[in-house]
Subunit: 204 residues, 2 copies
Amino acid sequence: MAQGQVTVTPDDGRTTRQRRHTPLVVVHSGAGKGKSTAAFGLALRGWNQGWSIGVFQFVKSAKWRIGEEEALLALDEVHRTTGKGGPVEWHKMGSGWSWSRKAGTEEDHAADAQEGWAEIKRRLAEETHQLYVLDEFTYPIKWGWIDPEDVVTTLRERPGYQHVVITGRDPHPALLEIADVSTEMTKLAHPFDKGQKGQKGIEW
Amino acid sequence: MAQGQVTVTPDDGRTTRQRRHTPLVVVHSGAGKGKSTAAFGLALRGWNQGWSIGVFQFVKSAKWRIGEEEALLALDEVHRTTGKGGPVEWHKMGSGWSWSRKAGTEEDHAADAQEGWAEIKRRLAEETHQLYVLDEFTYPIKWGWIDPEDVVTTLRERPGYQHVVITGRDPHPALLEIADVSTEMTKLAHPFDKGQKGQKGIEW
């Protein structure tokens, strides 16, 4: 296929080798399916490179990603027991972020989202992971909980070699502007339209 | 999100439970990235359900999926050693299909593709897998090597509970017609446009 073909010869003073090691911001948007599944597919590639993978789920709907979570944590276990691949961490909002010991007595989704983003900023500064999956991260931005300018500035100025994949509908225009790869998943046909409800293995 | 919402109340005489256990044909098309990665993300969900997963790569570009192959085969190993998840098989055209002992002396891609499809038909008849990933399967159909009517009839009449995911650009209209879920990946931005070449972990 044409995937490896370069359509423009760049004139940016960088070598091919330098361009091959450019950390990317990837955005998966659109109303179709596949935004998150494609992000987790990228995590498989990163895992095989030995990268540290950090997944951060920004919307409370734990059951929807359980398949990917179980599989990626099984790969983390493979890494810890055999040295193959890389480590994987999976953090989710809702009942409190995994790194936080805060009891989830009172639900404040805006504060939870902000806490998640603050942790991601710390990790980007410390170069903790090589691949960050910020799943459904477009929504807390859309809902006004997280400042898009802060996100854009943080991503632009992140040090080292850190890829960031962001999923969700209606990404803020500033996000699309800094994206190196941006794919819109468009729905052509979907069983929900025919009254088909979600089923295990397919939806979660 | 609205993912779980049913927009139409069906009038097909089936119960919700029956509709929840409908085997699906899923098509990922379009010029954007994520067609295959999303298919492999679905494989993670299926693996966690204990499904048997069969991956069939229909285009000779082995290096492009090495990350997913290594990671999914590691999950197969997890299944074999711990019983967790399901088995995964990975077959690729090019140097000969894994089940075939034929030496790849003379390259005949059309014959290879036809051999692959014949094996998938046998497996569908025997209900070998619960999830089939037919990666880049749109191309041998497009190139006239495999009869789209045969594909459509086979998929329509497949027995039991077998999901089939097909990826690739320009799917034959008959394929789109029988698809239960069809997503088009549209490119909004891509580093190849800026002269960025593929890099490991992201492209393969």
